[in-house]
């Protein structure tokens, strides 16, 4: 039997505000435990939450970026459950009417574009952090409430994702949008973005969806893909063996790379939502909405097509360069300052990104700034140095921080287009390879490339390959 996987994602993203959603405590990451708390976020009796305007603004920005309809009137509810990291015994979230609904984003996998619907985006507060220290003597769970009350948006997709690859493309696109908007720090390792998934498989030809399972709190693209992959295979196996899939929440075991059933009483969740009596209706006025949409930055898809056209670079290059905003900013800086923007795009994608990945740094931490790289690339286009020499200069720039021109001067890397100098090298190469000369003259013209390579090698990459080719042909053909 063939099955079609059906996957939906709920993405929780921490909003990069200074203060929490309902109180004025700092949202700083990595502060000493319980140093950013107050009576409101500790859930003391008699306190009142007050909504952070910037958090609402950020939620609206994401809603606009994902083509959602903004609900001008939305509300907050209480979601009731007991857990040590939730001091109030309830989470304030948006339930009946969220801030935004009915949007979509476009994703691309294997060159194919696809639209994935967004069901809703809502605002809510994060919970604290429970730590379970290892070791038998530690029979306690420690709780840090610094994260408690940090603003989150939850972005709920339609169940329109049909493979682990699409799920990663979707999650990546959401992360990219959050970063472009500057509303989320986007560090998965710090838990800024977390994924919940629901997975089911539909037998081919069946008109309705299969029974789904849920897996919560995945925090990397890798575990997102692996968990979906595992769960699809598990469900198909169950169905093929005549069993049935149980609707449940399953845990992802990061070490064994499997999902397993939780089988606890908590499984039957009954959150008893009701309107939060301490908060009134959240209203978004026309004026505010206009203000926010008019200041929305250029988004990745728009920037990709603009960069492709404006600089005349291949689509692939444009999409890689716009994968993050700092990278796109860096490329545009180089491209504006140098003569050859196609060359600039290739250099940023290969040479610059190689160093960034190797050193595990960000584009902003990369020491060769846009202007310095543009100067180097112009030396190639002005015929001052060869492509090979440019790579050497680039390494030296990284090490010394000196300008390209200065390094070329110091190392004497000027390209040799002086005919006499190249002729001498050609003579030497021909004298050293009598066998190859015979083969060439016997008709094997394709070994001309070998001779050019030898000339380039002997000249230390400085010979102009075009001049070398012309002289070689001149000498060999006569």
């Amino acid at each position: 039997m063939n099955y079609t996987p059906v996957v939906g994602l709920e993405i929780h993203a921490q909003l990069a505000t200074e203060s929490k959603l309902f109180c004025s405590c700092s949202t700083e990451f990595g502060a000493p435990p319980n140093s950013n708390t107050c009576p409101i976020c500790l859930g003391m009796p008699g306190v009142l939450p007050v909504v952070n305007k910037k958090a609402v603004k950020y939620a609206i920005m994401m809603a606009l970026a994902t083509n959602c309809r903004i609900n001008r009137r939305s509300g907050f509810s209480r979601k009731n459950y007991f857990y040590p990291d939730l001091p109030k015994g309830y989470q304030i979230t948006q339930y009946e009417v969220p801030i935004a609904e009915d949007g979509y984003i476009e994703i691309e996998t294997d060159g194919k574009r696809k639209r994935v619907g967004i069901t809703r985006i809502h605002l809510e507060e994060d919970a604290g952090k429970s730590l379970h220290p290892e070791g038998k003597a530690e029979e306690v769970t420690s709780v840090d409430f610094n994260r408690c009350g940090v603003p989150l948006i939850e972005i709920v997709s339609e169940p329109e994702i049909s493979s682990p690859k699409e799920a990663v493309a979707y999650a990546n696109k959401i992360k990219q949008l959050l970063e472009y908007l500057g509303i989320c720090r986007g560090v998965l390792a710090e838990g800024n973005i977390r994924f919940d998934i629901n997975v089911s498989v539909m037998p081919e030809g069946a008109g309705s969806l299969g029974v789904r399972t849920e897996i919560k709190n995945l925090n990397s693209f890798h575990s997102l893909a692996k968990a979906i992959e595992y769960e699809i295979e598990r469900q198909i196996k169950v169905l093929d063996n005549g069993g049935r899939v149980v609707h449940e929440t399953r845990l992802w075991d990061e070490k064994k790379l499997i999902t397993r059933s939780m089988r606890t009483k908590e499984e039957i969740s009954d959150y008893r939502y009701f309107p939060e009596p301490d908060l009134l209706t959240l209203v978004v006025t026309d004026k505010w909405l206009d203000e926010i949409s008019s200041t929305l930055p250029e988004l990745p898809d728009a920037r990709c097509s603009r960069i492709e056209k404006q600089y005349g670079i291949p689509h692939y290059n444009a999409s890689v360069l716009t994968s993050t905003k700092p990278l796109a900013d860096y490329f545009e800086q180089v491209a504006k300052l140098c003569k050859n923007s196609v060359r600039a795009s290739n250099w940023v994608i290969t040479e610059v990104m190689k160093v960034i990945n190797e050193r595990k740094i960000t584009v902003d931490e990369f020491s060769v700034r846009g202007k310095a790289l543009a100067e180097l690339l112009d030396l190639i286009d002005d015929g001052v140095i060869s492509q090979t020499a440019a790579k050497e200069v680039f390494s030296a720039m990284l090490e010394t921080g000196k300008s390209a021109a200065r390094i070329v001067e110091e190392k004497g890397l000027f390209r040799v287009s002086d005919e006499q100098a190249i002729r001498e090298i050609v003579d030497k190469v021909i004298a050293e390879h009598p066998k190859e000369v015979k083969r060439y003259q016997g008709g094997k013209k394709q070994i001309l490339g070998f001779f050019i390579g030898q000339v380039m090698k002997l000249s230390g990459g400085k010979a102009d390959p075009k001049v070398a080719q012309r002289i070689l042909q001149e000498v060999l053909d006569n």
Binding site: T17, E18, S19, S24, C25, S26, P32, P33, N34, S35, N36, T37, C38, P39, L42, V50, V51, N52, K53, K54, A55, V56, R73, S74, G75, N80, F82, Y83, P84, E96, V97, S130, L131, H132, E138, E139, V140, T141, S142, V143, D144, F145, L251, K265, D270, R272, P275, P277, L279, L280, T281, L282, V283
Partner: protein
């Protein structure tokens, strides 16, 4: 709405409350009374009216995103029955 032992037990479990069988029986009676009182609302002709998003009219005020300081760690922990190294501690919760 039918109020039974099982429902009261479920609500009690969700609220982490425990009752003796005697008080359970009295809760069943009291719950039934309260629910039937509230259910009177269902008798109102409400067709064509949109649901009230909040029982209180008015618009939520918003505050600027400013950090205004927090409690000291020792103040934050001062009411905690159990604490260690700056953390609140609770009986171990297994994930």
């Amino acid at each position: 709405m039918q109020i039974e032992n099982a429902l009261v037990k479920k609500v009690a479990a969700l609220a982490r409350l425990e009752f003796s069988d005697d008080s359970l029986a009295s809760f069943v009676t009291e719950f039934a009374k309260i629910i039937s009182y509230i259910e009177k609302i269902n008798e109102l002709p409400l067709e064509g009216l949109s649901p009230l998003s909040h029982p209180v009219e008015g618009v939520q005020m918003l505050r600027e995103d400013k950090v205004k300081g927090s409690l000291s760690i020792s103040d934050a922990l001062s009411n905690a029955p159990s604490k260690r190294d700056g953390f609140f501690t609770v009986p171990r919760v297994l994930e």
